[in-house]
């Protein structure tokens, strides 16, 4: 039976206005839920516990932990500050630990002093013995009692704040998982024993060496060998220390590399998608330019010398024109006939013939003579001199005009029918460019999405990614260098040990008696004892890691059960410097990246549950698990899974959540909340269920939170 919190009460603490009795939550073993909407006291409740256990509170304005004493005015109920001049604020926790009952109250007295407040903090602890409350007065005893609620070493695992959960389990520092394992397994005494045996081994070695030196002080050879031995032992000691430093540096570099590996993969992908986006943008720009040029060319194509688009569909107009021209010519001829009454029949002599007839005074048509100035001769002359200037003029103007058009248009007669096809083709080309632009825009959008999926953002510069790539290369180089340093140092120690053995044998060969032999045996025995204790500790430590590995994966599977995507498996790896790394691997043992926040928190929660549920030796995690907003990134499936397995892991948990809250519902619970309450009422889930409500609607200065107990 470990520690069980029986109740938590507040007095004028943030919006918990009123006395302790007005603001009491009674808890049990199992899951204790405090369901509340935003600003209804979840984090304030959590702050009350932090204040009592750690003397810190989370300042939501500063968004960081602060020393509680610097935040007293914020911790006081605004309503109390407005209404009173003298009041107390406080948190009280009543708990039992192995049948001993304690009541711990942290109180700050507020007294108005002009425009400011005087404050005075005090800690009252009562221990119930034989139904009597006995005040604990000694400060050291008070501290010990507070640590009974949750030991300092386990606070990281027992006090969880959802938003900081990803960084909660410090897997790299000596104060992280490895020290937690030491606490959980209760091997702190074994570690101390290892240190004692190491010290005894060194003492024995010195004693033996001194004895040898003392007995053989006159033997120069032995003295020289002893001196060499001391030098070598000194070197081995300093090099061993150096190896420890190398191991720490190696472990840090490996951790850095591992951290960067996931980032790097994303950084490389970001670089890739950044490049893809740029290439596509260049392509889009080129296509747009091509499209603009094509559109600009339409004007010149309209009046193209070879095939002017403006003549499209004009092929009929050419024949029409020809027809019109012929009609016009005929019409003109008709007009001429009207203007000139002398109409010569076809085959009539032309002007030169008529001139010749006048000259020869003979008609060549009928063959009769036509003497000069005779009527016949005069008739021929009249025919020759018939008016023909006007006719000639008209005939010449039309001929030149129409033949010009005829020639120009005639050259297009073959290309005009093709214009429509050319325009259609041109249009299709522009449409194709347009389509290509759209396609490239879509590809660019996809690349942008991929870029965002690997952690890119509008503000994400490639400088950080390049820095990460550079840091990764540096970490790899450091790992190689430290591996080499360790290898060399180990080789030196090995060689020195070989020489030490030779020296020991030489000394033994020269000087040997029963007294010195017993000291040598003592030295060797103690060196072996040190080795055995050290190995025993390592064995236990590795066993615990294996156990944690199994337990954590069991919990991880249970917590992520029902999810469509697999979350990989957790792998615990002891490092050269004694720390433990936990990573998530895929089925091929490769690093699993790109998991959402929900999965990352599940990983942390699984490790915590594994630590808590690993009953290492006879030790068990029997402390309350208190968590503010643990489900803020979890879906209903995760939440359901948690409620199913949590009672098997935590003896008692106190959870502050809003995921079960529905302000529109009659009892402020959503469907999941109602389901869980039902399970609690019928005993499927052990525990209590509280819902925080606002006493009356008010602004933050007068906000008062009250609780409704649905399952006590």
């Amino acid at each position: 039976m470990g520690t069980i919190i029986k109740s938590v009460s507040f007095q004028n603490f943030y919006n918990y206005y009123g006395s302790f009795d007005d603001n009491t939550y009674r808890f049990k073993e199992g899951i204790n839920i405090v369901n509340a909407d935003n600003n209804m006291g979840k984090s304030k409740f959590y702050n009350g516990i932090l204040w009592l256990l750690k003397d810190t509170v989370y300042d939501s304005d500063l968004k960081r932990m602060v020393c509680a004493s610097s935040s007293f005015p914020k911790m006081a109920s605004c309503k109390a500050l407005n209404e009173k001049t003298n009041f107390d604020i406080g948190v009280n926790i009543v708990f039992v630990e192995n049948n001993d009952k304690y009541s711990v109250s942290k109180i700050v007295q507020f007294k108005k002093d002009g425009n400011s407040w005087k404050t005075n903090e005090k800690l009252d602890i009562l221990q119930t013995i034989d139904n009597r409350d006995i005040p604990v007065l000694d400060t050291a005893d008070k501290e010990k009692i507070i640590k009974k609620i949750i030991p300092v070493e386990l606070m990281n695992y027992a006090l969880l704040q959802g938003e900081s959960m990803e960084e909660l389990v410090d897997l790299s520092s000596h104060n992280g998982l490895s020290s937690t394992i030491e606490v959980l397994a209760g091997i702190k005494n074994l570690i101390e024993i290892c240190e004692i045996s190491k010290d005894l081994s060194q003492k024995t070695k010195k004693l033996s060496n001194d004895k040898e030196k003392d007995i053989n002080s006159t033997n120069q050879k032995i003295t020289s060998l002893i001196q060499e031995r001391e030098t070598l032992e000194g070197r081995i000691e300093s090099t061993t220390t150096q190896i420890e430093t190398y191991k720490t540096e190696l472990s840090e570099a490996k951790k850095k590399k591992e951290t960067l590996e996931a980032i790097l993969l994303n950084a490389q992908n970001r670089e890739k998608f950044r490049g893809v986006q740029q290439t596509l943008q260049n392509e889009i720009n080129r296509l747009k330019e091509k499209k603009n040029n094509s559109e600009r060319n339409i004007t010149s194509m309209l009046f193209s010398e070879n095939s002017p688009w403006i003549l499209m569909e004009f092929q009929n107009q050419i024949s029409l024109f020809d027809k019109r021209r012929l009609e016009l010519t005929a019409e003109i001829a008709t007009h001429k006939a009207i203007d000139n009454p002398i109409k010569l029949p076809e085959g009539s002599p032309d002007i030169p013939s008529l001139q010749r007839m006048l000259r020869t005074e003979k008609c060549e048509v009928c063959g009769r003579p036509a003497s000069k100035d005779s009527d016949f001769w005069q008739h021929i002359k009249m025919v020759m001199e018939r008016p023909e200037n006007k006719e000639k003029l008209n005939k010449n103007d039309f001929g030149s005009f129409y033949s010009g058009i005829q020639t120009t248009v005639g050259s297009f007669s073959l290309s005009i029918p093709k214009i429509a096809g050319i325009i259609q083709q041109y249009r299709e080309e522009i449409d194709n460019i347009e389509e290509l632009i759209n396609q490239k825009e879509e590809e660019k959008e996809t690349a942008k999405l991929e870029f965002l999926n690997v952690g890119g953002s509008e503000n994400n510069s490639n400088v950080t990614d390049r820095q990460n790539i550079s840091d990764y290369t540096l970490a790899e180089k450091t790992i190689d260098k430290k591996d080499e340093d360790i290898r060399k140092a180990v080789k030196f120690i090995k060689d020195w040990n070989v020489r030490l053995k030779q020296i020991e044998d030489e000394i033994k060969g020269i000087s040997s008696n029963s007294e010195i032999e017993s000291y040598r045996e003592f030295k060797e025995t103690m060196a072996s004892v040190e080795y055995i204790f050290h190995n025993s500790k390592e064995r236990i430590f590795n066993r615990i890691i294996e156990q944690l590995n199994t337990n954590a994966n069991e919990k991880y599977v249970e917590l992520t059960r029902g999810n469509l995507s697999t979350g990989g498996k957790l792998v615990f790896q002891p490092q050269a410097d004694g720390t433990v790394q936990v990573s998530i691997k895929n089925i091929n043992d490769g690093e699993l990246t790109g998991l959402g926040t929900g999965f990352q928190r599940m990983k942390q929660l699984s490790i915590i549950m594994a630590i808590i549920s690993s009953k290492i030796g006879n030790k068990q995690f029997d402390y309350p698990f208190i968590s503010d907003a643990p489900f803020s990134e979890f879906g209903d499936n995760f939440i359901n899974n948690f409620f199913e397995i949590a009672p098997n892991v935590f003896t008692q948990s106190i959870i502050f959540i809003k995921e079960l809250y529905d302000p529109a519902s009659e009892n402020e619970l959503n469907d999941l909340g109602k389901k869980i309450l039902e399970k609690m009422k019928n005993g499927e889930i052990p525990g209590t269920f509280y819902v925080n409500v606002i006493a009356e609607k008010a602004d933050t200065t007068n906000l008062v939170t009250k609780n409704k107990c649905y399952k006590g």
């Binding site: 397994a185 024993i193 004692i196 017993s518 004892v529 080795y531 055995i532 064995r539």
Partner: protein, 71 residues
């Protein structure tokens, strides 16, 4: 871990067999509260007890030295 648990863990150490030639059978019969025939096991107990009783390193060393010299 209790002193007895630590002792049991150390007894399981294969090094006791390989370095000190103590048989598996003998190790099986070793008990934290019963005197052992093997000096190394008595030293192990002395160190565990010394730590449990918060004795100083020098005092533990004296005890171990006396034991090993006597044995």
């Amino acid at each position: 871990m209790t002193a007895e648990e630590i002792f049991q863990e150390v007894i399981k150490s294969p090094d006791l067999q390989s370095i000190f030639q103590i048989s598996k059978e003998d190790l099986k019969h070793e008990d934290f509260n019963t005197k052992s025939d093997y000096s190394v096991i008595e030293i192990v107990k002395a160190i565990i007890n010394g730590q449990e009783n918060h004795r100083g390193k020098d005092a533990i060393f004296q005890t171990v030295q006396k034991q090993i010299m006597k044995l």
